[in-house]
């Protein structure tokens, strides 16, 4: 935007306010909020890894955490219980069911994001970032999407190749 255009806009705004069109400007009752104010809430993880915190974890570190905090609902081996399965399952999802981490999830970052924001079901936001990395590594390794000794962190997690990534069709692209 050129300075000239900018000053014309500024003048119009002043005129509008002077003419009594105060509503166009709004009540202005929002309080400015800083990134540090937002730190505890701003937990979205993007598919490219944006938002992933420092820390790391491995499947070996995740196994005991899974047993302690996840197995009661998801089954001793992640095969499912009162909550859905997280490990194994059919090679393909269908209308009969069977959407799994291995055959359906397009991005590994989604596992980190969801576990951190929503799990364990009865104690969401109670896991440390280290624990979330470890559990993510455990789930990816047991689903044979990474090696048993691979470390998951902000660098490696977005690079995990998810087999079903390219099988999605955006239903209404003209509405984006």
């Amino acid at each position: 935007m050129s300075m000239r255009k900018f000053s014309i806009g500024a003048v119009s705004l002043v005129l509008a306010v002077a003419a009594g069109a105060a509503f166009a400007e709004g009540p202005n009752l929002g309080k400015p909020v800083s990134p540090s104010d937002l730190a505890a809430w701003d937990i979205f993880i993007m598919p490219d890894g944006t938002g992933l915190p420092p820390g790391s974890g491995t499947s070996a570190q995740g196994a005991p955490i899974f047993k302690q905090k996840c197995a009661a609902c998801h089954g001793e081996n992640g095969e499912g219980g009162i909550a859905g399965p997280l490990i194994g399952g059919p090679p393909h999802a269908s209308l009969d069911g069977g959407k799994t981490i291995a055959n359906f999830y397009p991005y590994a970052t989604t596992i980190f994001d969801y576990v951190r924001r929503a799990m364990p079901y009865t104690q969401p936001r109670s896991l440390t970032d280290q624990e979330v990395y470890a559990l993510t590594a455990f789930l990816l390794a047991r689903n044979k999407l990474i090696g048993e000794t691979d470390t998951m962190n902000a660098e490696t997690l977005p690079k995990v190749k998810m087999p079903n990534r390219d099988n999605f069709i955006t239903r209404f692209p003209d509405r984006i």
Binding site: N28, P32, V33, I45, L95, K99, P106, P124, R175, I176
Partner: protein, 442 residues
């Protein structure tokens, strides 16, 4: 298609049949007396008058003083069966859903206590004074709003539906599941919503030109989050705080929800506490996994934003059987996420012939529209169907056409299951000779 009625009695009632199996011209609804006079005149199968009335007496309620008026009135004790069905009454650690009893309601507004609800981590108990809404990300000024602050912004009221993407999912079953309209289509409801347009708040935060999406997040225990195109946010998205005049219900997102008229229910994030403007979607659990629909070829749809044009007959319907041959009103609701309903056609013979239903005013965009069709049931088998068109020219397919493209299960699932989502084809109710009604594929 029009043919004059004639029946065994030899008298011709003064109404016109406009399609097979007893459908009567919708204009008869304008002069309802004519229809009923016709029915009486027809006698026999068409009669609506029973044995001679008994002498009238005062009921006990007419002979004593009534109860004190309560501060918040709830329905009569005789209406105890008009309730939602809940699929997780013990609040076990899983999703909870409550379905609207469409077969017991009339009009287009769903009473607040009967609005469908789905919660993924129970219903949170939010103190409105402590609740905050933050708008940040690709904005010029990240801002935080209290409920008290939002109350001072210019508000708008709009009537519109919310429908779960998984509503009507039982119709993906390979065989017609036997349940009622509440079980099959109960995850859709319609209210008047009042709140502040999101565009009003975005004027104050300013928008970085790079922003193309917004990620909305709730204050519930799953911190439910969905990515929404910013275009929708600027078009008609509302921070809804009131539902049919009162503060929105806890199950609807108290104290505020994102309302995206016509868009998939799950995107209408409840308990809304944060909106972050971004260049790309977050690919959250709900959009990349749960609300992505597997197709027969193994690929899957995602970002199926729209709840497309749909209609279904609410009465007669399974469980609301016909007592005897005679005149009935076929009624139901139609709606479309793209705009107004333009037309609803009704069939009583499984789609062989159709007649246009009357649309009850008001016909509002992205809202339930009530349709009505007078019908004389002659006591024989009938298959009732409705088919809606919206103002964009979109219409419902037959179920066979629909599942040819979208697939169906290989074995019958639970009626509470979700084999896929965004089912919007035609629903069929079969009437048997006793007046019983079943869900069928026709």
């Amino acid at each position: 298609m029009s043919n004059k009625s004639s029946n065994a009695g030899g008298k011709s009632p003064p109404f016109e049949f406009v399609a097979g199996n007893g459908l009567i011209d919708r204009r008869a609804l304008l002069g309802r007396g004519v229809v009923f006079a016709g029915a009486m005149g027809a006698g026999g199968a068409g009669s609506l008058v029973g044995a001679a009335a008994e002498p009238l007496v005062d009921g006990p309620w007419s002979l004593e003083v009534g109860a004190a008026i309560p501060p918040y009135q709830v329905p009569s004790r005789f209406e105890k069966t008009v309730v939602r069905t809940v699929d997780n009454p013990d609040n076990e650690p899983r999703n909870s859903r409550a379905r609207t009893p469409h077969h017991l309601l009339k009009g287009i507004i769903t009473p607040n206590g009967l609005h469908f609800t789905i919660c993924h981590g129970g219903v949170p108990d939010i103190d409105p004074d402590q609740h905050r809404l933050v708008i940040h990300g690709l904005v010029k000024r990240p801002l935080e709003f209290s409920l008290e602050a939002l109350e001072r912004y210019p508000m708008v009221s709009r009537v519109g539906f919310v429908e779960c993407g998984g509503n009507s999912a039982p119709l993906f079953s390979n065989v017609a599941l036997q349940d009622n309209v509440q079980a099959l289509h109960g995850l859709a409801s319609c209210s008047e919503w009042t709140g502040v347009l999101l565009s009003t708040l975005l004027e104050e935060t300013g928008i970085d030109p790079k922003a193309k999406w917004m990620i909305a997040e709730g204050a519930d225990s799953p911190h439910l989050s969905r990515s929404v195109p910013l275009a929708k946010g600027l078009d008609d998205a509302m921070i809804a705080m009131y539902q049919n005049g009162e503060r929105i219900q806890p199950g609807q997102g108290y104290p505020m929800r994102l309302w995206l008229p016509g868009y998939e229910g799950n995107m209408n994030v409840k308990f809304l506490r944060r909106i972050k403007l971004t260049e790309e979607p977050a690919m959250t659990y709900y959009e990349s996994r749960t609300y992505a629909q597997v197709l027969p070829d193994g690929k899957a749809y995602r970002f199926y934003f729209l709840q497309e044009v749909k209609s279904f007959i609410t009465r007669p319907s399974p469980g609301v059987s016909l007592k005897e041959p005679g005149i009935y009103e076929i009624t139901g609701i139609a709606y479309s996420g793209t705009g107004r309903i333009a037309k609803v056609m009704v069939s009583a013979d499984g789609g062989q012939s159709w007649a246009q239903a009357a649309l009850q005013d008001p016909v509002l965009p992205k809202a339930f529209t009530r349709f009505r069709m007078p019908w004389r049931w002659d006591g024989g088998p009938a298959i009732l169907q409705s088919r809606a068109w919206d103002e964009g020219g979109n219409s419902q397919q037959t179920r066979a056409q629909f599942v040819a493209a979208r697939g169906q299960t290989s074995k019958p699932p639970s009626v509470l299951g979700f084999p896929s989502q965004h089912f919007n084809a035609i629903t069929s109710w079969a009437v048997d000779a006793k007046g019983g009604i079943k869900h069928v594929y026709a």
